[in-house]
């Protein structure tokens, strides 16, 4: 890859100061505060497109300015006539057709050039230039993301949710599917969208050039909580990713006796919908909660994974995320039981 990889990053950075010249860009104080912005991107699946985006924006802005300048000039170059006297004036002056000939002759080659650029940039991001390291299946649910990590060399696989971990600097293959309605996978800093269509397998790829956290969110309207179907991608260096993988490929180990009451309650009340690998909880309707305590956020990345939020979520998720499928558990888990389950869930590192 690459041609696109090498070619793209630099001109994009060079063009960045242009953002300051667009008056409205001043409204937002810099792009760094915009984790969803694709005015600058950080992966080879996005960078050639970002360059094209800046190029097309420049052409679009120039076209609009030139044409509206001509329009304004056309209006003000005459002393305007006034009614009702104007009704007497009538003439067919000037060679107006020249405008159409020149205008079309100038704009057509520009449009042709844009079409060529479009095909080239699209071709540059269709596939990674080198073999992918691993495959992650992303399965959309109303309103969360199921993630299946597959490593064919190690013949390992395990399931996570909502928080994708990838090694930085390496292309990763994504297989996109849906369990219910159409969703769309989108992490703007890393790549464009690809839909998750039920009954259809869509493939795409992604690569984070640098370590870091990247925000994404569902981009195809999918019902009541479309707005809160957030995705988080964590790109680690090779060693950290290896460690993360090894920890997460293991089922959940034994838990301390202190939380065994909470574990039993969890198996009874939560296991129908949630899975914790290595336990009796094998439900498939909700996110897999193996190692859930290590995730950064809950509720499809809308609340921090802190004790207060987590407890609130277990007690009354529908208030925190209206129409969510998870029922309020407060009645089934009165007082101490809720705390016990919370202790257990927080122990799932």
């Amino acid at each position: 890859m690459s041609r696109s990889q090498r070619g793209a990053a630099e001109p994009v950075t060079r063009l960045m100061p242009l953002a300051g010249t667009v008056p409205l860009a001043a409204l937002v104080s810099g792009c760094s505060a915009s984790p969803m912005s694709y005015l600058s991107t950080e992966g080879p699946a996005a960078d050639p497109v970002t360059l094209m985006g800046w190029g097309f924006t420049a052409i679009a802005a120039a076209t609009t300015l030139i044409i509206s300048g001509l329009l304004l000039w056309a209006v003000v170059r005459h002393r305007p006539l006034r009614l009702p006297e104007a009704r007497e004036t009538m003439e067919r002056g000037g060679n107006g057709l020249k405008w159409i000939y020149v205008g079309t002759l100038v704009s057509t080659p520009v449009l042709f050039g844009m079409a060529v650029w479009m095909v080239a940039a699209t071709a540059a991001v269709i596939a990674p230039g080198r073999p992918t390291a691993l495959t992650i299946q992303v399965i959309g649910h109303q309103w969360w993301w199921e993630l299946r990590y597959l490593d064919h060399q190690k013949n390992q696989s395990f399931i996570g949710a909502n928080e994708i971990h990838v090694p930085a600097g390496v292309p990763v293959k994504l297989e996109l599917m849906s369990a219910d309605v159409i969703h769309s996978f989108w992490i703007p800093k890393l790549s464009g969208k690809m839909d998750l269509v039920p009954g259809q397998l869509n493939e795409t790829w992604i690569e984070a050039s640098h370590e870091g956290e990247y925000r994404g969110q569902c981009a195809e309207f999918c019902g009541a909580q479309h707005a809160n179907m957030v995705l988080l991608l964590v790109a680690d260096n090779a060693a950290a990713f290896e460690a993360w993988w090894n920890a997460h490929a293991q089922p959940q180990g034994q838990v301390a006796d202190a939380v065994s009451h909470g574990r039993d309650l969890f198996m009874k009340h939560c296991g129908e919908c949630h899975t914790v690998d290595g336990t009796a909880a094998k439900g498939k309707d909700g996110p897999n909660l193996t190692h859930v305590a290590s995730r950064r956020k809950i509720g499809a990345n809308i609340y921090p994974n802190k004790r207060g939020h987590l407890g609130g979520w277990i007690a009354d998720a529908p208030t925190m995320k209206p129409r969510v499928r998870m029922p309020a558990m407060a009645e089934k888990l009165p007082g101490g039981d809720l705390i016990a389950v919370l202790d257990y869930v927080q122990s799932l590192h």
């Binding site: 505060a33 097309f56 170059r77 003439e91 000037g94 449009l111 839909d195 981009a219």
Partner: protein, 649 residues
């Protein structure tokens, strides 16, 4: 060459030469009074006004919905609306603006203006005109019927399956949407047929097709387009209804899969957006020359690029589906085809600018709206090229960038020229001028408000805000822009309010207009304001594109004749002419007032209501009623010459 089949040769005279002509026409055409005059009317002027007023009521409804949405989004994490309420409101907003305002308002203007521009006394099928109005009104009420009980459609105006399928959306909202769309399809199909037949037969003698106003080109292009695209939307919605209620499995895995819906819907949906703008561009193409004191530059180019836009528009529907996993080859071809549409669009833009450049502008409120349209069309067009670029669209798709683009083109090339057109033709319709000072205040409020509301949406899209989200968290760089947008939306609404106030005030207090307040060039300005029920006392003869400017332009020996013409007073009659050359061909009769179209519209609507409740016996009864009413409609009538013995030759 068709043989003329005039059953008699009408007199060629001026109205003054024929004793009692206008009084006789008055008696023939003048409507009865009271309720029948509206419920039974077949007069294109009344129906045109009904269409326009109804469309503006829906515009207000959709606008209020938009303002509520904007209040919800003004600040992050607001809880003014529940997600369900937000989703219903944005769906209703889109559906209202796209289906119940944009096309009907253009139909209304065309229904009013066409016969006057063409030198005819009505559309080709006056009773069909009444039927299509009533079905439009009833389908709008049908589509709004579940809003008061909070069960409106909630899956967006393009209503993707499986989100709109029964398992994920069991309420009545989607069925109301599906059946309402089929019902509305009856109306749009009927009005399209009416426009095409009118163009083919009712142009004044001498108005060959290269002399038609551009509005006529735009409307007829949209109408022919509608006849090809509407079956797709009616089919896809009707199949959805069957899928949801009778287990047809059209869009589930057993049948076609979810992308089948998208293909059929956009096969309709993309050409549809051109149908929403081409007639409006025609309004500007006819209005601008009047305010530039010269004919339109490049008439032939503009007319042909209108047709070309529609035709290319049929080949680009999957540019709404770039992210669904179609092959790169398919995507690139459609992307390139979509970019091609910029060429006919550019032709129109340069023709308009050249018209202003080589003319002498008269800066009226109408002119300002048309000039604003040119600017907004360019600004919305260039972003259309950006979203046509496949890989770039993978980023732009379903963000506020697309919301910005579609509002620039739809408001820019529909709402602004429509408002301009109303400023232009209101004097003709009402006999009074709209106030120019109020008009300019309203224009600047709405133009500035529009740009404050929609320009920042481009940036919001580039900063990654997806469309159709009911809320967003702070810290994403979206907060301030959203607040600005909401302020702009209210400014725009204020501009529209000033326009409506102006209309209400001017209806009573406006300056009296006279026949031709602007010095227009087409036939509508030759008759009185408002026009008599029969439009023209004699049918004029047309010798150029601008029958009323020939003396001023003085470009040739030929002159149109508008003060004299065919005297057609043996009944409600108008002249029928040939398709290409506009040669006199036959005498067309116009139906009298009748309640049959209204009754038929009621029966059709009840049929769909019965389907909604799955009351199939009532639906069957409605079908019988429809057949009976169609029989009453088709029953031979003396005034239409259907009861004379046919002479075989």
């Amino acid at each position: 060459m068709q043989t003329p089949r005039l059953e008699r040769v009408p007199r060629f005279a001026s109205p003054q030469d024929v004793a009692g002509l206008e009084a006789r026409l008055e008696r023939l055409f003048e409507p009865t009074h009271g309720l029948r005059a509206w419920l039974g009317t077949v007069d294109h002027k009344k129906l045109g006004v009904l269409y326009i007023v109804t469309a503006f009521v829906f515009l207000l409804a959709g606008g209020i919905e938009a303002l509520v949405l904007r209040v919800q989004l003004a600040f992050p994490s607001q809880r003014l609306l529940s997600p369900e309420a937000y989703n219903q409101l944005f769906t209703m907003h889109g559906m209202t603006m796209i289906f119940l305002y944009s096309l009907p308002v253009l139909s209304g203007i065309a229904i009013y203006v066409w016969p006057l521009m063409l030198g005819a006394r009505d559309l080709a099928f006056p009773r069909l005109n009444a039927l299509t109005y009533w079905t439009y009104l009833f389908s709008g009420l049908f589509l709004y019927s579940t809003l008061p009980i909070g069960l409106s459609p909630n899956a967006g105006w393009f209503n993707y399956v499986p989100l709109s399928a029964q398992p994920y959306n069991p309420g009545p909202g989607i069925d109301v949407f599906a059946l309402g769309m089929v019902l509305l399809g009856f109306s749009t199909t009927g009005s399209s047929i009416n426009f095409i037949a009118t163009l083919a037969r009712l142009r004044a003698p001498g108005m060959s097709i290269n002399r038609m106003p551009i509005l006529v080109w735009g409307t007829v292009t949209a109408s022919v387009g509608n006849l090809f695209m509407l079956p797709a939307v009616s089919l896809c919605f009707f199949l959805l209804h069957l899928d949801r209620n009778y287990g047809m499995h059209v869009y589930s895995g057993y049948g076609g899969g979810p992308l089948l819906w998208q293909h059929i819907f956009w096969f309709f949906g993309h050409p549809w957006v051109y149908a929403l703008v081409l007639p409006a561009m025609g309004i500007a193409s006819d209005g601008l020359p009047t305010f530039c004191r010269r004919p339109l530059v490049g008439y032939t180019f503009v007319a042909l690029s209108t047709v070309a836009t529609m035709m290319i528009g049929y080949g680009v529907w999957t540019h709404h589906m770039f992210a669904t996993g179609l092959s790169p080859m398919a995507n690139s071809l459609i992307g390139a085809a979509s970019i091609t549409i910029a060429i006919p669009s550019a032709i129109g833009v340069f023709a308009w600018i050249a018209t202003i450049w080589t003319g002498r502008p008269v800066i009226t409120t109408a002119f300002l709206h048309f000039a604003a349209m040119i600017f907004l069309f360019v600004a919305g067009g260039v972003t259309g090229v950006m979203t046509a670029a496949v890989a770039l669209d993978w980023q732009l798709h379903d963000t506020y960038f697309v919301v910005a683009h579609l509002h620039y083109v739809l408001l820019g090339i529909n709402l602004f020229p429509v408002l301009g057109g109303i400023y232009y033709w209101f004097p003709k319709m009402s006999g009074r001028m709209l106030d120019e000072t109020l008009g300019k205040i309203g224009f600047w409020l709405s133009f500035i408000g529009f740009n404050i509301a929609f320009f920042p949406m481009h940036l919001l899209g580039l900063l990654g805000m997806p469309r159709r989200i009911y809320t967003y968290e702070t810290g994403l760089g979206w907060d301030r822009i959203n607040l600005v947008i909401t302020v702009g939306a209210f400014l725009l609404a204020l501009g529209i309010a000033v326009f409506l106030f102006n209309v209400a005030r001017s209806l009573r207090h406006g300056r009296v207009a006279g026949n031709d307040p602007w010095g227009g060039g087409s036939l509508e300005w030759s008759t009185t304001s408002p026009p008599p029920a029969y439009n023209f006392a004699v049918i004029p003869f047309v010798a150029s594109r601008h029958p009323l400017w020939e003396n001023a332009l003085d470009e040739g020996p030929q002159r149109s004749v508008v003060r004299r013409g065919f005297v057609l007073d043996a009944g409600k009659e108008t002249a029928g002419t040939t398709l290409l050359d506009g040669m006199p061909y036959t005498i067309v009769r116009i139906a009298d007032e009748t309640y049959v179209p209204l009754a038929l519209a009621v029966a059709i609507t009840l049929f769909f209501v019965a389907l909604l409740f799955k009351a199939l016996w009532i639906a069957a009864a409605c079908i019988i009623a429809m057949i009976a009413l169609t029989g009453a409609w088709m029953w031979p009538r003396a005034e239409l010459g259907q009861r004379r013995a046919v002479r075989h030759e």
